[in-house]
């Protein structure tokens, strides 16, 4: 169990479950080596996307926002063509 001393919480002293899901997600999504260059990722069932040289993948949420925006733009473009 996480130990709470006043407003200071010290987690992870014993069992693994002391570390919250948020702590874990925060670490795996925001820390670690970033491959710059043509990174291939697949998220949310969307086909592969290629992240350009200057783009850093910061989180799944960020990537999902990029995908959603790209899809929106593609739909708008298709609507203009067909309309």
């Amino acid at each position: 169990m996480a130990e709470s001393v006043s407003n200071v919480v010290i987690a992870g002293g014993g069992a693994e479950e002391d570390i919250s899901l948020l702590d874990v997600l925060d670490h795996v999504l925001h820390q670690g080596v970033i491959i710059r260059g043509n990174l291939v990722i697949s998220l949310a069932g969307i086909d592969l996307i290629y992240v350009g040289l200057d783009v850093i993948l910061t989180s799944v949420e960020t990537a999902l926002r990029h995908i959603a925006r790209a899809q929106g733009e593609a739909r708008a473009s298709a609507a203009r063509i067909t309309g």
């Binding site: 006043s6 407003n7 992870g12 702590d23 999504l29 925001h30 080596v33 291939v40 993948l57």
Partner: protein, 219 residues
């Protein structure tokens, strides 16, 4: 074959490869330039959506923790998926000197994180100058709290980096693995301003200390 990279370790590092990783895939070992890289591969890049993202991130974390239990590792950020094993091999080869140096430097080290944030904020009202003064006061409180932690662990902490957050301050500190219990015990005695809250987690792989330079700001 799409490849998901987990982490890099020294090739000579002991320990067995975890049985399964993200989406239950087998974990393979790529040896290159004195380094070992853990990865999984699929015929096509895996689709990670909804609950699968969370479950996959947790599976990824378990692989990292398993490898970290045997020694220093350099984790990849989740999800790093490359087109082929050859791409991963080329990446490791290209960065072999840098990562070998980092692993040697981080041998027997662990990272602890301290996140300090406001439980409640004063909420600046009025002029822009008043807002700036309130922000300055907040920064001073955060800095004072960080100093409390730093002082409490002064004998164990070997390196310290900070990153400002929208709601507070995040501190990363490097210590010997063996010193972590003592460090935690010292942190239990830390007292910070009542409007602040602090959460200490770790030990983690020392991802923030792979580079020797100052940590970059990532808002």
């Amino acid at each position: 074959m799409a490849v998901l990279a987990y982490c890099i370790a020294e090739s000579a590092q002991g320990g067995s490869v975890p049985a399964a990783g993200v989406l239950g895939a087998s974990i393979h070992l790529l040896r290159q330039s004195g380094l070992a890289c853990l990865y999984s591969e699929w015929e096509e890049a895996p689709a990670l959506s909804g609950a699968a993202v969370r479950a996959s991130a947790l599976a990824f974390h378990r692989v990292l923790q398993g490898a970290f239990a045997h020694g220093a590792i350099i984790p990849f950020r989740f999800p790093t998926i490359l087109g082929t094993r050859g791409d991963l091999e080329a990446f490791v080869r290209e960065h072999a000197a840098e990562y070998s140096g980092a692993l040697a430097r981080l041998k027997d080290k662990a990272q602890m994180d301290v996140r300090i944030s406001f439980q409640r904020r004063a909420g600046a009202t009025g002029t822009g100058a008043a807002y700036l003064r309130a922000r300055q006061a907040e920064r001073a409180k955060l800095a004072a709290a960080a100093r409390e932690f730093r002082d409490a662990g002064s004998e164990q902490i070997e390196a310290w980096r900070e990153r400002e957050l929208a709601d507070g301050l995040r501190c990363f500190l490097l210590a010997n693995r063996a010193a972590v219990p003592e460090l935690r015990a010292g942190f239990e005695r830390v007292r910070i301003a009542p409007e602040l809250t602090a959460r200490v987690t770790g030990p983690w792989p020392a991802a923030e200390f792979v580079s020797e330079g100052p940590v970059e700001e990532r808002a």
